[in-house]
């Protein structure tokens, strides 16, 4: 057998097409996501106002941020909204999925009904619910006309509960997708598990609670991450529904960032706030991403 010089080709050119095809992704990841993030973090240490400028002021923007009541309210709101949104959308989404999983009639119809709000924009959702919750026209008005004249339900105009008013709209829009994911997860579970549980005489609800839900961990995690990401980003909904009011009681961080960057013309402050948001996102996401994608290798 003749020894031929078939040398290992250069690493760079192996798989060349795949690398070319990945250029958009690489550019996007590096220039936009990584670059933009670093750019933002760097400028959060400056006193940039209307236009970015590199005049470093240390942690000034951060110290100011954490004494600004509006930011504190925004963070608190996000915490409440986030916790409720996570819990309720998971619970409601799961319950709906479980109901739909009972081999019911008109499953498609119900599913479509639960899912359609997801097709609407937050602007639309916000407007509709602003209208539904308007005390002069909406639910409160209608109930009062029915005779309960003392009935009060005007979450959007009561600063202590306004965030729940927003939650109602958010749940209306978001649970459909959660349900969809959960349903896919439920359908992915081995039919035999159900049979085994029935033979063991385990009631349906216990089967869900102790057997099925623990088995759905991957779906739950994916869903959780999707919800969490949308929570941090919540902005349009608040703008459309309350504009942060009454007062500043329904402010959220994303809105704070936007307004400080553009309205208040204090980019540095906006960047500082967005860096804080990023930090929280990273705290949530990176461990997950590591588990999801790092482990695979």
């Amino acid at each position: 057998m003749t020894e031929q010089t078939a040398r290992r080709p250069s690493r760079l050119f192996r798989n060349l097409n795949a690398k070319i095809a990945s250029i958009p992704m690489i550019l996007n990841a590096l220039v936009i996501f990584l670059g933009g993030t670093i750019w933002t973090i760097v400028y959060s240490f400056t006193d940039s106002r209307l236009l970015p400028r590199l005049n470093f002021v240390g942690f000034d923007q951060y110290t100011r941020l954490w004494v600004t009541p509006r930011w504190l309210v925004a963070v608190e709101n996000l915490a409440i909204y986030g916790a409720c949104m996570l819990v309720f959308s998971l619970i409601i989404g799961f319950l709906l999925a479980a109901l739909l999983d009972q081999k019911i009639r008109f499953e498609d119809t119900f599913r479509t009904i639960f899912l359609y709000p997801f097709a609407l924009s937050f602007i639309v959702t916000g407007l509709v619910w602003q209208w539904m919750l308007n005390p002069n026209f909406g639910v409160q008005h209608v109930v009062r006309e029915l005779g309960w004249t003392n009935f009060a339900f005007d979450p959007l105009y009561d600063s202590s509960i306004v965030i729940y008013g927003i939650l109602i709209a958010a749940l209306w829009q978001g649970t459909g997708l959660v349900m969809c994911l959960m349903l896919a997860g439920l359908r992915g579970i081995d039919e035999d598990i159900w049979k085994a549980a029935r033979v063991d005489g385990i009631p349906t609800w216990k089967t869900y609670l102790f057997i099925i839900i623990p088995m759905m961990r991957p779906v739950l995690i994916t869903t959780l991450v999707i919800i969490a990401a949308s929570i941090v980003k919540v902005y349009d909904l608040v703008v459309a529904q309350t504009s942060g009011g009454p007062g500043i009681s329904s402010e959220v961080p994303a809105k704070y960032v936007y307004e400080y960057m553009f309205h208040a013309q204090n980019l540095g402050q906006g960047f500082a706030a967005s860096t804080m948001m990023l930090l929280s996102v990273i705290i949530v996401i990176v461990p997950w991403a590591y588990l999801e994608f790092g482990r695979r290798k």
């Binding site: 598990i193 085994a196 033979v199 216990k206 102790f210």
Partner: protein, 363 residues
């Protein structure tokens, strides 16, 4: 021995598709019944009906003399073991075994006692604190059996419990199940499409096809006297040889195919024999064929030529032609044959099976 499970006129349809058709089956107390059949013939469906996991369309099911047609699975006194094990993945083995009992509110000591007993029988004591993910396939299967065991049931239902395991493990667990049955003396209904399992485990085998039980009999009877061509062809590996041909002669019947005539005087016809003329299929198993000198001692012998030799380790399968049909026979592994070698083969027609071509029924 009383009747443990009795199925009467059972039918089941999914929408327009009828999967089981007025099926009757009586299983005696302590009997080991194997349901055998090709994929999709309704074995699992039948088992699920017995377990109460599917609503029947027609018919009744009795377990221990009690009509359980409308009972919940848990009230039927059955335990079930699934092909995919269906263990609860997030619970330890112990929890898996005890979950049903705890839900039913069985006292603690009682649970502990039953688990201890099941664990001992199945030798899974060291595994009790592990989760299913940390078990091998065989161990998982044992736990799945244990889950049925702790429930102290009358009837065990197995749905292809071993088909996810590799050949070696399958052989081991097969023996274990056999021993388990001997020890417990429970009624067992066991679904498989592996015929070695069926042959070795069963007291009686029910061979199914298209939702109908074709034959229900002891393994050797099914193997040696299949009621129709389907059963004959389905059992046996290497498979039975089938020769298409004609049955001639009323007084002394002869099977003719190509240039070969096999006298059937020694063949035991079914019933009165009826019309013994017409197209039919002659079947004989590869291991019932003698070869070389031994062939000449057989009632029928002929010359042939080796076409393919398939050494299978323990034996060798040799392919030849008989009356124009492919024809295989089994020889000891030591015999060295080569393609083209002339040989003499023979067999005893008494061991053959004869089927009507049209209906496929045994003649």
């Amino acid at each position: 021995m009383g009747t443990s499970v009795s199925i009467q006129d059972l039918s089941l349809s999914f929408g327009a598709v009828t999967v089981l058709q007025t099926l009757n089956l009586d299983v005696a107390d302590g009997e080991f019944i194997v349901l055998l059949g090709p994929s999709g013939c309704g074995k699992s469906t039948l088992l699920n009906c017995i377990a109460g996991l599917l609503d029947v369309s027609q018919g009744r099911i009795f377990i221990k003399g009690k009509n359980v047609t409308w009972e919940e699975p848990k009230d039927r006194g059955i335990g079930m073991v699934f092909q995919s094990y269906a263990l609860y993945p997030q619970m330890t083995v112990e929890k898996n075994l005890s979950f049903g009992l705890r839900v039913a509110g069985t006292p603690r000591e009682e649970i502990a006692k039953r688990i201890a007993r099941a664990a001992e029988i199945l030798q899974i004591e060291p595994l009790l604190q592990r989760k299913p993910a940390a078990l091998s396939g065989g161990q998982r299967q044992r736990v799945a059996i244990g889950r049925a065991l702790v429930r102290d049931v009358d009837v065990f239902l197995f749905d292809e419990p071993l088909s996810n395991l590799d050949a070696k493990l399958r052989a081991e667990l097969r023996v274990e199940i056999k021993l388990l049955h001997r020890k417990l003396q429970n009624t067992m209904i066991y679904v498989t499409h592996d015929q070695i399992e069926a042959m070795t485990l069963a007291d009686r085998i029910a061979v199914m096809k298209g939702g109908v039980i074709q034959q229900l009999d002891a393994p050797q009877t099914i193997y040696n006297r299949p009621v129709n061509r389907f059963v004959a062809g389905f059992l046996g590996s290497p498979a039975m040889n089938f020769l298409d041909g004609q049955l001639n002669g009323v007084s002394s019947p002869v099977f003719k195919t190509g240039n070969v005539s096999v006298p059937l005087d020694r063949y035991a016809f079914e019933g009165n024999g009826g019309s013994r003329v017409g197209p039919c299929v002659f079947g004989i198993r590869p291991e019932h064929i003698a070869f070389g000198d031994a062939a000449n001692t057989m009632p029928f012998a002929t010359d042939a030529e080796v076409e393919i030799v398939e050494p299978m380790g323990s034996d060798t399968l040799v392919w030849t032609k008989l009356g124009g049909h492919n024809f295989s026979f089994r020889v000891e592994a030591e015999k060295t044959l080569r393609n083209g070698d002339p040989i003499r083969i023979g067999f005893d027609p008494a061991r053959a099976s004869l089927f009507e071509t049209q209906s496929g029924n045994r003649m």
